[in-house]
């Protein structure tokens, strides 16, 4: 054991692909990675989320070819043809590469007027918002990114909704893909970005793949970006996503992330309020079971006065699952009249579940109102008793209480279509992890006290 030196984890899983990279930005990222390694538990930002599952594999570049039927089925499952999002423009990536044939409106991807779309592949440019020198997983993405979606919305354009779907099509070998997305909104523009990460669930057993997306969001003056993300990766998968958002004066970045899948998942948000009166919402929920580890990490920087930040995260953990929340609110001296709020709550449903939370305030301005809170507990016996005394079977009572706990945070998301997607995904996960709503009784899973 290395007791002292903060030696990172070995880059062996990716070593073969890191050699011979010549592009200067990518090369610098590789240098950075080689210097620090993949973050180990002694790196403060990763103290609760260990990248052990990545070790012992050699991740190859994910295949460009896939079974269109299987992928199509996965798409239909997640985005029903009769659903609210059926006619919404969708950009589909399979294994991190843009798949025009699956995207709609077909092939050409005609997006609303004022919205331009480009593949990252076409002209790889790395947005300066991302900081690979500080986040090793972003360095990894920078080194290995092949494709991604680059959207920009012109000034004053209300672009409506766009769905961004990532489908993993795992083969037999461990593979990874590192898509690089960017969204930029001109002054007064608006966009609802609905992001979905699913797996084609091709076959037997767990899939060993690693999805490592980076998304940069540049929100212009008075612009509003709504971002919903539903993460339903396959069992066995690792999903480590990083989002950067820069929000200009009176702009807003309103986000919600729902973590349900993957063995190891992390949704990391770096939001910077760089103009006065800007607002950011980083809300989210996780429902995890088995040995899943789900991490929601955020760093919100108030770099301008009169800004608002809001974070409400709820975790429900069953079996041996572990939830992690790390939230940092950093208020610069210039950011007077900051209004920051952060709340992380967890419900532990099994004696083996665990939650680790680190809500952090770093404040250099005096005229601020910042608070955070965290609570952890089991289901309330009195609430259960109340329902039971009214004839609700125990399993169903539990489901009702868990669902209510999570719906409260889903209510923070206002967009109808996004909400519908969240509800569907959550409903399925609740049935899987907690028990079905009707005729429950027997199949309630582990209901031990």
């Amino acid at each position: 054991m290395n007791a002292i030196a903060p030696v990172g984890r070995s880059l062996a899983p990716f070593e073969a692909r890191l050699d011979g990279i010549e592009d200067p930005i990518r090369h610098a990222a590789v240098g950075e990675l080689r210097r620090v390694g993949l973050p180990g538990p002694r790196v403060e930002a990763w103290r609760y989320t260990h990248l052990r599952p990545l070790a012992g594999h050699e991740f190859r570049e994910a295949a460009a070819s896939f079974d269109a039927d299987l992928v199509g089925r996965a798409l239909d499952e997640s985005l029903p043809r009769d659903g609210l999002l059926a006619s919404t423009p969708r950009l589909v990536l399979v294994n991190g590469r843009f798949a025009p044939e699956l995207s709609s409106p077909a092939n050409g991807v005609a997006l609303p007027e004022g919205v331009t779309f480009e593949r990252f592949l076409a002209s790889p440019e790395f947005d300066a918002l991302a900081t690979p020198e500080r986040e090793p997983l972003v360095a990894l993405n920078t080194a290995l990114a092949v494709d991604g979606v680059c959207l920009s919305v012109a000034e004053g354009v209300a672009a409506g909704r766009i769905v961004l779907v990532s489908v993993a099509f795992a083969g037999d070998e461990a593979a990874s893909f590192h898509p690089r997305h960017s969204v930029s909104l001109g002054a007064g523009a608006s966009l609802e970005l609905i992001e979905l990460a699913v797996s084609s669930g091709s076959g037997a057993g767990a899939a060993t793949y690693f999805h490592n997306p980076v998304l940069t969001c540049d929100v212009g003056e008075g612009a509003k970006l709504t971002h919903v993300k539903v993460q339903k990766e396959a069992a066995g998968a690792t999903h480590l996503a990083t989002v950067y958002a820069n929000i200009a004066t009176r702009g807003a970045y309103d986000s919600f992330t729902l973590g349900l899948g993957a063995d190891l998942a992390r949704h990391e948000v770096h939001a910077r309020l760089s103009g006065a009166k800007a607002a950011v919402h980083v809300n989210g929920a996780q429902l995890l079971g088995e040995k899943q580890v789900g991490d929601i990490t955020s760093v919100i920087t108030h770099a301008a006065p009169d800004c608002i930040s809001r974070q409400t995260i709820r975790n429900v953990l069953t079996d041996h699952a572990r939830g992690v929340f790390q939230g940092k609110v950093h208020v610069h001296q210039i950011a007077q009249k900051t209004d920051g709020y952060q709340m992380n709550q967890a419900l532990l449903l099994s004696p083996h579940a665990e939650i680790d939370a680190k809500p952090e305030l770093e404040i250099y301005a005096d005229d601020v109102k910042c608070s955070h809170g965290a609570t952890v507990g089991a289901l309330d016996d009195e609430q259960l008793f109340y329902l039971r005394s009214r004839g609700v079977p125990e399993a169903q009572a539990r489901r009702i209480l868990v669902e209510a706990f999570l719906l409260e945070v889903l209510d923070l998301h206002e967009d109808e279509a996004g909400r519908a997607l969240l509800d569907t995904a959550l409903g399925a996960a609740l049935s899987l992890r907690i028990g079905r709503l009707q005729g429950a009784g027997q199949d309630a899973g582990e209901a031990s006290e």
């Binding site: 007791a3 002292i4 403060e44 001296q333 007077q336 967890a346 532990l348 449903l349 099994s350 004696p351 083996h352 579940a353 665990e354 939650i355 680790d356 939370a357 680190k358 809500p359 952090e360 305030l361 770093e362 404040i363 250099y364 301005a365 005096d366 005229d367 601020v368 109102k369 910042c370 608070s371 955070h372 809170g373 965290a374 609570t375 952890v376 507990g377 089991a378 006290e449």
Partner: protein, 496 residues
């Protein structure tokens, strides 16, 4: 904003004058040579006529220390400390150990008198000779530690009659070796952390308390630490053992002269509470904080930990941290016994260039263990203050309960206040609640006080005292009064 401008001006006006404990006592001292190596440790050990096991223990700690690196995770910054450029042993020259107060160097007695620490037990017992302007106090037994050694311990006879042992730890090593050997390092192991290892290697004195079964300690016990000599580090070690159904309340105070250099204070405090035992440990930390430009002051890097070993045992830490250039301190409770209770009440005030990174750890191991954390942080001037705390609920701690509240108050726009709580829960039948707020003094509150005729300074003083009330009320009476005064003084110029 006029209030802010005024505050800033006042902060700027604030000089060293407010630290009234900054005098130096001129007394003949006995030093070990500068620097830290095995020979220094052997010298300390032989000066103190220690048994071989303790020397071995120290050397093991030193060996561990040499492999360790100074922790860097705290939110404090200072130039590198040269551990070879300090004296590790400094003691007032004396003949044999003083048998009574009469034999204590009168210069020392005068020092403690000046500090307001009563070493004359008779006078106090009789209730006479109360100096003018001072209120009569309840008797408090005092162990006075001057640089590296304990110079006097009062009321030992009264305490002995009750069965309570209260003496310098070096004496305890001699007189109660089995007790010391059994418990020393059992709560804070020698290799626990960099500063604890350093302390274990070179600790010189400190207090030892043993309260036997069923005894309620008849009076408050207190240790008063004074750094006096130049270039010395102070490394005291306190060990308090409270047996079944016994209880004790212990107070700790400290001051140092004003100097331009930084001096290191790395203490270790170990508490052990057995079944139904209760320990209340109160600290008013008032080391010299350095001047308004951050020159000088004490580096206060302290490891304090209590083990609630028995069922229903209770350890309560209360601290008022106003001094030190840098504070690095996390009084903790290991709640092993079923139904054990840990409490942490803290007020940390930083002004000028002071830095404080302080908080607590509550480790819930046993069933139905409970902990409460109330931390109030006040930053003024150019200072930085951090609350860093850990609440860890282990799988067996069913029914465990924690409540944490951290509030920060910022005075002026050049300071920082930070909150870094870690919450780790591995038991579904445990409840953890944490809340934290950061704000400035509200204009409504100010307006309310001002329109009732209070001056701005008085109003701020009143509001700050109210802000800290939850903690101050936990202090024993005399300390509470002193702490309130200290709050006023440390915030002088920035508030009332």
């Amino acid at each position: 904003m006029p209030a802010v401008t005024e505050t800033r001006e006042q902060v700027e006006k604030l000089g060293q004058s407010s630290y009234k404990w900054g005098f130096e006592t001129d007394i003949e001292m006995d030093f070990a040579p500068k620097g830290l190596n095995e020979d220094t440790i052997r010298l300390i050990s032989s000066r103190k006529e220690e048994p071989q096991w303790l020397l071995d223990w120290r050397l093991a700690a030193f060996a561990a220390w040499q492999t360790m690196e100074e922790p860097t995770w705290a939110k404090v910054s200072h130039p590198p400390i040269d551990y070879q450029d300090a004296y590790y042993y400094a003691a007032p020259k004396k003949k044999a150990g003083p048998k009574s107060l009469d034999e204590v160097d009168p210069e020392l007695l005068r020092t403690y008198e000046k500090l307001g620490i009563p070493l004359h037990e008779q006078a106090l017992l009789a209730g006479v000779e109360v100096p003018e302007g001072e209120e009569a106090r309840m008797p408090i037994a005092v162990d006075a530690v001057f640089d590296s050694v304990s110079v006097a311990t009062t009321f030992r006879k009264t305490l002995a009659e009750a069965g309570v042992i209260f003496c310098p730890i070096s004496e305890a090593v001699r007189d109660y070796p089995d007790l010391v050997r059994q418990y020393l390092g059992s709560v804070v192991p020698v290799g626990d952390n960099f500063f604890a290892a350093l302390n274990s290697a070179v600790f010189t004195d400190g207090s030892f308390v043993y309260v036997p079964k069923g005894v309620r300690c008849p009076m408050e016990l207190s240790t008063y630490f004074r750094i006096n000599a130049r270039n010395t580090g102070q490394f005291e070690r306190t060990l308090i053992i409270v047996e079944d159904k016994a209880s004790v309340s212990y107070l700790e105070g400290c001051t140092a002269p004003m100097r331009d250099e930084n001096q290191l204070h790395a203490a270790v405090v170990e508490l052990v509470a057995m079944e139904d035992a209760s320990i209340k440990y109160s600290t008013v930390q008032n080391w010299y904080p350095g001047d308004e430009n951050g020159l000088g002051g004490i580096y206060n890097f302290v490891t304090k930990r209590g083990a609630c070993r028995g069922a229903r045992s209770k350890i309560s830490w209360t601290q008022v941290e106003t001094g030190s250039a840098i504070t690095w301190k996390y009084p903790s409770c290991i709640l092993q016994g079923e139904g054990a209770v840990g409490e942490f009440y803290s007020v940390a005030v930083t002004n000028n260039r002071q830095q404080a990174d302080t908080g607590t750890k509550m480790i819930h191991i046993g069933r139905n263990t409970r902990s409460t954390i109330i931390a109030k942080t006040i930053s003024a001037g150019h200072s930085d203050s951090t609350y860093r705390g850990l609440v860890r609920i282990l799988p067996k701690a069913s029914g465990a309960r924690n409540f944490t509240q951290c509030d920060s108050l910022l005075i002026g726009d050049q300071c920082g206040a930070h909150t870094v709580p870690y919450i780790e829960n591995r038991n579904m039948a445990a409840r953890v609640e944490h809340e934290a707020t950061t704000s400035k003094i509200s204009e409504d509150q100010m307006f309310y006080c001002r329109q009732r005729g209070l001056s701005e300074e008085d109003a701020v003083g009143l509001i700050v005292n109210g802000f800290c009330k939850d903690v101050l009320k936990e202090l024993p009476m005399e300390f509470a009064v002193e702490a309130q005064k200290l709050l006023q003084i440390s915030l002088e110029g920035s508030v009332g």
